[in-house]
Point group: C2
């Protein structure tokens, strides 16, 4: 695509992190999608990323239509530098594209003894409580915090009951969803994993009003405000869709999609060693909590992904047949043999 | 209780805001609980609130065992002053007590053209996914953002499927809860609104693993990290309980309970007018979303509380008989007639 070597490495690292951590929907499987966006000139492979406005603790970044995988990492570098100077750094990004897994960007802060935060808005797939219309993306929130002897705390969650990737897995297996994941085109409950193509929608975390879907909706909205209203990106149902075959929204109130990256220097609050000692104690408390009979032990956010990474670093990353086919087509297209 | 007049006004304002906004569980109904904490010397009515450490964008505040209602407002003032200077301000608080509704503190930022954020940890009532043990509080998150012609966006949500106040309403009516709100002492599903007194627990937002309870658990954990691990307050199951009759936890890894207050100056990112114009557009988009047949129109976070406040400012605040009795007892105790 003519990315610089430096940007290609950043993008590859972010995709590889997703595959290693077991988030197959956001790894190399997405590569062909990014290439298609580049082909229709919605991704700029050689972006001139620039700061539009800043204060000691904040910045707005124009991603120049670059790969979100790259733009978000540049944004996090700025957030970390600001946190180094004044305790915290917060960067809202406009004019970007899909950034992969949020957790990867949040984790960039860990080595600096900082808490990392990453959010992004995304293609509108989610119907807020009482709505038929799809008004928000799965708008994830990631928070990574360092511990001492324990591995870091890494929460990375779509603000929906189930992420779209979970739906895709069921589609491939031709299985139904649990109740509470999706609704049909009239807003009635559905268990059809293909319902999004039939006018249906994903549901906010909580599933329905009785179970707190208004809270999942509010969380997705907060991500939209921080990512797009603070940066000047597109928001709500006007976020450009990831698949190129989906028509663009009828209006473009901003530029591209939006992200929000934050870094909090631990010792801007307390000595990092004291914090990490408490984090270890916190984590051990949860690991030792009494589990429900017949269930797994109580997990700490980040555990499943860390276990997946451990296994995949040894056993390799399994690729779905359709992904291998995609990569072979891409290999021919770019004259890079892939067997 | 010998609070200063200034502190008494701050505390009364915070309680009144809850009653006006329809959050009856967090208004004047709590007054007797605060007094009981003062009687056992867990609330200090004349606290010397002080900054323990700070950077240009951060501070740790020692609440000196004061009323959280007061301490959190002092923390928010510091956050706002820092945001004025360097774009954002973030204050983590130790050694505090129950701070009322999170939304009130977040909304203090609105008049300054800032986004306000408020979180607190709380008495352990919530069992994380797969756990029998109660390891977290209902740990709410509030975010308030100003709009232009539209009223502000105010999200204020417990990170559980249902807040404890919702359970208390059902207890008074002797009604069952919907499924997915609580579990019994062995971690099995329950609909008994009294189950917390029988060893049961509230469930994280999402209710069960299939419906994303691990996400609600992660969100509650993030609130705990920001409120207590950054400040040096007690955390996880070791947060002191609000009711004085509940035994104190077996260990005290920190001091009191913890809060986290944040202020984001809008024009540290974009001109406030441009942001507010987009906020109006965002809000109108949601209000105009097509509703599911037979349901209410699509609401924007803050709408229900604003409608309650409008009604109650005209009609007055209804008080439950038990609250009136409590206030009469308090009136006698403090020789302040209440009829």
């Amino acid at each position: 695509m003519n990315c610089s070597d430096a940007h290609a490495v950043l993008a590859a690292d972010a995709l590889l992190a997703a595959d290693l951590r077991g988030i197959d929907s956001h790894g190399i499987a997405r590569l062909s999608g990014y290439v298609r966006l580049w082909e229709v000139q919605r991704v700029n492979a050689t972006p001139a990323i620039k700061v539009l406005h800043e204060t000691p603790s904040t910045a707005v970044l124009d991603g120049d239509q670059g790969l979100g995988l790259v733009v978000a990492q540049e944004a996090m570098k700025i957030a970390i530098a600001k946190a180094e100077n004044v305790g915290t750094g917060w960067v809202s990004v406009q004019n970007s594209n899909h950034f992969g897994i949020a957790g990867y960007h949040a984790m960039l802060a860990l080595e600096q003894n900082m808490i990392g935060i990453a959010m992004t808005n995304a293609s509108p797939l989610v119907a807020p409580t009482f709505s038929i219309d799809k008004m928000l993306g799965t708008n994830p929130i990631a928070v990574a915090a360092p511990a001492g002897n324990q591995p870091p705390f890494v929460a990375d969650l779509a603000t929906t009951t189930a992420a779209n990737g979970k739906l895709e897995i069921l589609q491939r297996k031709n299985q139904e969803t649990p109740t509470g994941w999706v609704q049909d085109q009239s807003g009635q409950p559905s268990t059809d994993a293909h319902i999004l193509k039939k006018g249906g929608a994903l549901l906010p975390l909580g599933s329905d009003r009785d179970h707190g879907s208004h809270k999942g909706y509010a969380l997705g909205a907060i991500v939209d405000l921080f990512s797009a209203l603070l940066s000047g990106a597109n928001y709500a149902p006007w976020v450009p869709p990831f698949p190129v075959y989906v028509p663009m929204p009828t209006q473009q109130p901003g530029k591209g999609i939006g992200h929000f990256l934050g870094a909090i220097r631990i010792d801007a609050f307390r000595p990092a060693d004291a914090f990490k000692k408490d984090m270890d104690h916190w984590i051990e408390g949860f690991r030792n909590a009494k589990p429900v009979e017949g269930k797994s032990n109580v997990l700490v956010p980040g555990d499943p992904e860390r276990l997946a990474e451990k296994e995949r670093r040894q056993e390799g990353i399994p690729l779905h047949e359709s992904v291998i086919n995609d990569l072979q087509v891409l290999g021919q297209r770019f004259e890079l043999p892939f067997e």
